[in-house]
């Protein structure tokens, strides 16, 4: 496989995805394709279905697919449980992960580990060395949770990285660290050989100052209403709000 071909490989594909949560339809036919090495961002007002979309890609049972499907490198993974998806290379950063008492961050990182990642070194880079022995997420601040999630993802080294508002609740100092870690996860320093894919939910767009994105999607009422240049989209949203943004394609 040459580099050009790798750059055009379809990795994650959502086809006409309909998702219900507790009997309520949240996603109404989402189509979305992420190719090898691409990073996409998702914009959308609160309640538009952004988080549901990531949860459905990860495969949590509460998010029931009623029509359409999720495909990973051509394989239909719609019926697979989350751990099978994780083992196939999908990784997710949780926005509000639960505390698991008696399970240390270090243990979590080793659970995640798909490759030989030096957890100690990564923890050092993320200023988490002192947190390794602590129960995962117990008493962690907003920024610490983000960094802990990123440590776990770096141990997992997934091919498709799902990030739910990585910048929320993070101060400027932490944002730099978070941005740097995401760049590493998504191989942003590679060009032609970059293979990692990203799908990032962002409310504020701040993360775009640290991580370049290839495509943006605006989600409204459970459907993608606009796909295009993420910076232009963000500008439009900032100027005119989501309502106008949704109208423009209609």
């Amino acid at each position: 496989m040459n580099d050009m071909a790798a750059g055009n490989d379809l990795v994650l594909e959502l086809r006409d995805l309909h998702v219900e949560v507790e009997g309520r339809e949240i996603l109404r036919g989402v189509n979305l394709s992420v190719r090898s090495g691409e990073t996409h961002v998702l914009f959308g007002p609160n309640g538009s279905g952004k988080t549901t979309l990531l949860m459905a890609i990860m495969g949590f049972p509460r998010y029931r697919v009623t029509r359409g499907g999720v495909f990973l490198e051509g394989e239909d993974i719609t019926a697979l449980p989350p751990h099978e998806r994780a083992r196939r290379g999908i990784g997710m950063m949780f926005q509000r992960p639960p505390t698991v008492r008696g399970v240390s961050l270090e243990q979590m990182a080793s659970i995640c580990s798909r490759d030989d990642v030096d957890v100690g070194a990564v923890a050092g880079e993320l200023n988490l060395t002192d947190f390794l022995a602590r129960d995962v997420n117990h008493g962690f601040s907003g920024g610490e949770i983000k960094r802990s999630e990123l440590l776990q993802l770096m141990a997992q080294n997934p091919d498709v990285v799902l990030l739910d508002e990585p910048e929320s609740g993070v101060d400027m100092e932490n944002l730099q660290l978070v941005g740097k870690a995401i760049r590493i996860l998504l191989q942003k320093d590679l060009r032609r050989r970059r293979r990692k894919c990203g799908l990032i939910i962002t409310h504020t767009g701040y993360i775009l100052d640290y991580v370049e994105a290839d495509q943006g999607h605006v989600l409204c009422e459970g459907a993608v209403v606009c796909t295009g240049n993420p910076r232009e989209q963000l500008e439009g949203i900032r100027k005119y709000g989501f309502e106008e943004c949704a109208k423009c394609t209609r």
Binding site: A86, P98, V100
Partner: protein, 407 residues
């Protein structure tokens, strides 16, 4: 001896007295006579118990990294030896013959007429260990003790007396176990602890019984000024019934007691386990932490803190996890204060494994079963403050051994 006659009299009067908690047992059903066991000078020579059986009771056959060992099989002391200076280990009867003063500690921390089980230990042949740390003594390694039941339908009667003299440190690893095939058996274990001024005692105990075993430990602890008593108790394998309510009395200023218990209720098991601390001097503190998991068994998890004077601080934490239908956890935390200046609190929670946590781990690549196992182990993985590193390692080892069979 007048005092002994009085003790016997009280025991006889209590011979039919049912225990305050737990199911009643008919002591007449246990008819077996103890088997013959020979005394051995070193544990290596012990042929009656294999390495694995000893390991189940937390005992290292090599005896390395131990300051001494005590092993009792059924009713016989088969080995007792102290290896470090400042330590003494004897069979309790032997010790009572040797030391007149020991009678002052006999049935003083536990009441002989508490119930029919304490009475039964007094009124029948018993053994058990006497351990004593001399004033100011400290050992590099913990002591190990094992009480093993081999004979079916046998009542193992044990009366232990543990004394940590002023300023001493005593760390004990102990296990009680029985042959797995035993269809019926009873362990009655009286333990009296005396923690003198500024002494420290840690007592880490694993129980590995069998489905047919009934177990009734009776433990009393007296802690003097500045002393510390810490108990870590693990019971994860099947037992028919287990009822115990160890009680520590903090009688000197600044005394401390901590009880940690980790219990798994296997299907068919009836467990009623509590810890009680009576704080009766200023500056005393206590902590009771209980973790109970049921796989179908019934567990009553009790805790009782009693603050009798001002300036005391105590906390009780009682968490239960129900893994299977049919399992029951009944948490009974009790706080009792009779002085305005007491600071006592408790938290209790009983529930199932949180789905949110399972999914979190599944997103990291674990199957549902694997994720549940990690969460349950984490739940039981109580952080124990103040346990020396060697003991913490040993305790982890004991827990892992139990967990691998129990979970």
């Amino acid at each position: 001896m007048h005092a002994l006659e009085e003790i016997r009299e009280r025991a006889r009067a209590a011979a039919q007295k049912p225990a305050a908690f737990g199911g009643d047992l008919d002591l007449c059903e246990y008819t077996a006579q103890p088997g013959e066991c020979a005394y051995v000078e070193s544990l290596e020579e012990l042929e009656d118990l294999g390495e694995e059986e000893l390991a189940r009771a937390g005992v290292e056959k090599s005896g390395s990294q131990r300051s001494g060992s005590f092993v009792q099989i059924d009713g016989t002391v088969v080995h007792r030896k102290a290896l470090e200076k400042g330590l003494e280990i004897l069979g309790t009867r032997e010790a009572l013959e040797r030391y007149d003063w020991l009678w002052d500690h006999y049935w003083k921390a536990v009441a002989v007429d508490a119930d029919k089980f304490t009475a039964d230990v007094e009124l029948n042949p018993f053994e058990g260990y006497f351990m004593r740390a001399m004033p100011g003594s400290r050992t590099a390694y913990p002591l190990q003790a094992c009480l093993y039941i081999r004979e079916p339908r046998f009542v193992q009667r044990v009366h232990n007396i543990i004394i940590a003299e002023e300023g001493s440190e005593l760390h004990i690893i102990t296990g009680c176990a029985s042959r797995h095939e035993i269809e019926m058996g009873l362990h009655l274990g009286v333990s009296e602890f005396y923690v003198k001024k500024n002494a420290r005692v840690t007592f880490t105990m694993v129980h590995n019984w069998a489905e047919g075993m009934d177990v009734r430990p009776r433990t009393g602890v007296v802690v003097e000024e500045g002393g510390l008593f810490m108990s870590n108790y693990i019971c994860m394998e099947a037992v028919r019934s287990l009822q115990a309510y160890p009680t520590a009395r903090l009688v000197g200023a600044g005394a401390t007691a901590r009880f940690n218990s980790i219990v798994v209720g296997q299907p068919g098991s009836e467990i009623d386990l509590g810890s009680r601390v009576v704080l009766s001097a200023p500056g005393c503190s206590a902590e009771i932490i209980s973790r109970a998991v049921t796989k179908g068994g019934r567990i009553v998890a009790r805790g009782h803190l009693k603050g009798e004077t001002g300036g005391i601080k105590a906390h009780l934490e009682c968490h239960g996890l129900i893994l299977e239908e049919g399992g029951l956890i009944y948490a009974v935390p009790e706080l009792e204060g009779n002085h305005p200046d007491v600071d006592m609190s408790h938290e209790a929670a009983v529930g199932k494994v949180a789905q949110e946590e399972v999914e979190y781990l599944m997103a990291r690549g674990l199957s549902e079963e694997e994720a549940t196992a990690v969460i349950v182990r984490g739940f039981l993985n109580v952080k124990i403050e103040g346990l020396p590193p060697l003991l913490e390692r040993e305790m982890r080892k004991m827990m892992e051994l139990s967990e691998s069979k129990a979970l």
